[in-house]
Amino acid sequence: MTEQIMSHTSPPVGSDITVEPLHEITLSVNGAPHTATAPARRLLSDFLRRELGLTGTHVGCEHGVCGACTVLVDGAPMRSCLMFAISAQGHEITTVEGLGTDMDNLSPVQQAFKECHALQCGFCTPGFLTTIHAFLETNPSPTEAEAREVVSGNLCRCTGYQNIIKAVLRAAEIRREGGAA
């Protein structure tokens, strides 16, 4: 397949699709600008992992059901498997790596997951962490019912969810205590 780099403008109608053009895509991830080239069909999830080497974002079902690939787009949780990288051009993306990678300085949600044993195999965890992180920004003191509701869009096949719900409430507590920034 011949590849050619396109500027970020629409190609002419009737372009031969067997020649898959590459687009230069610039977006901000965890506060740092990144530029890479990829075809238009590259999902944001794959762009983060393949082009940018940020493998914290996990790819599960690839049709929006499991929630493992959830990232924050301008602060709001979205499925990175249901968005093309080219659509994220110019937007601010936060992945699980942006929440904290230092074991001595975990984010409140990461710390709560650790304390409450809210993960086992860990595959689904990045999606839970990003989803809960954004949720607590807008709802810092959730009820247990709200904690259940916020994780309803994420699948976990190990934990049975009880400890994840405990971790949502514990993370809110840690935030209120001002600990584990």
Partner: protein, 287 residues
């Protein structure tokens, strides 16, 4: 589970968007929020050669409240509409239904207009569009036209929209003062596709029922209105025995069976939901 290659068009105006659609015709799809389209592309159930990505169209991200309508632009995300206090006050049914649309992460990206254009029989917003007497605003190189929601849905995932047209906005009709509404659905998990759902509008004039209508989710091939007024007209809303509408609902719906529920179960479910929704509307939700 990766989409087939496509040519990505990113128009910066409606004129540019419809010019592209006119050229690519049936070989193109409009991409807005993508929460229904991208799963279809990922699974290669469809592989259009052209995607017309309207996410950078100016002016399409507005919610406008008029005296008789709430106009929702093609790029208004479900979450944005759900959070819009003026829209919630003008047409409470919008928020009642939007809270049932998928999960928050999907609502943050998916658009209300897109879910109507997608015309999934399991979608909540097509049903709301029909019950509110919504008007679909479509644009093409041939000009703009307005399509009544009742003329828009032809079948599951099928509409009367032409291949060269894009929906630029939907105007949901506001109900007359005194109309109470409710939306109820049942899903295996909150946020999943509903096994059955119902939107109801209950008109109350001088303290008695003057109008009772319902539209459905997942149990009719296209959303349409069931008028139940005759069964309950003239009663005080709080005293109506809503089981009187059961037979009419049972006769109206035509559910299909799938792995989640049999047709009989869906029918039983929607009868119960309809009674509960009317009872809830009778108690509260005065518009």
């Amino acid at each position: 589970m990766k989409p087939a290659p496509f040519v990505h068009h990113e128009p910066r105006s409606v004129e540019e968007a419809v010019a592209t659609l006119a050229e690519v015709g049936h070989d193109g799809k409009v991409l807005a929020g993508g929460q229904s389209l991208i799963p279809v592309l990922n699974m290669r159930l469809a592989s259009p050669n052209h995607l017309v990505d309207i996410n950078r169209l100016p002016g399409c991200d507005r919610v406008e409240v008029g005296d008789d309508h709430v106009r929702v632009g093609a790029l208004v995300r479900h979450a944005q509409l759900l959070a819009d206090a003026r829209a919630a006050s003008a047409l409470p049914l919008l928020g009642q239904a939007l809270a049932c649309v998928a999960h928050p992460a999907i609502r943050n990206r998916g658009t209300t207009v897109g879910s109507i254009a997608h015309a999934d029989a399991a979608g909540e917003m097509p049903s709301v569009a029909v019950l509110t007497g919504a008007v679909i605003e479509a644009a093409s190189v041939r000009g703009t036209r307005e399509i009544a929601a009742t003329d828009f849905f032809e079948g599951p995932l099928e509409t009367t929209l032409e291949a060269d047209e894009v929906v630029v906005a939907v105007r949901f009709g506001r109900f007359p003062t005194g109309t109470r509404t409710a939306f109820l659905e049942a899903a295996r998990r909150h946020g999943d596709y509903a096994m059955a759902g119902v939107a109801v509008a209950l008109g109350v004039t001088d303290g008695v029922v003057s109008d009772a209508r319902a539209s459905f989710v997942s149990v009719t091939p296209v959303p349409d209105i069931l008028d139940l007024t005759e069964a309950v007209r003239g009663r005080e809303p709080g005293t109506v025995d809503w089981s009187t509408v059961a037979d009419a609902v049972a006769a109206h719906v035509d559910p299909e069976a799938d792995i989640h529920a049999s047709a009989d179960y869906r029918r039983a479910l929607v009868i119960e939901l309809t009674q509960r929704a009317f009872a809830a509307a009778a108690q509260e939700g005065v518009a």
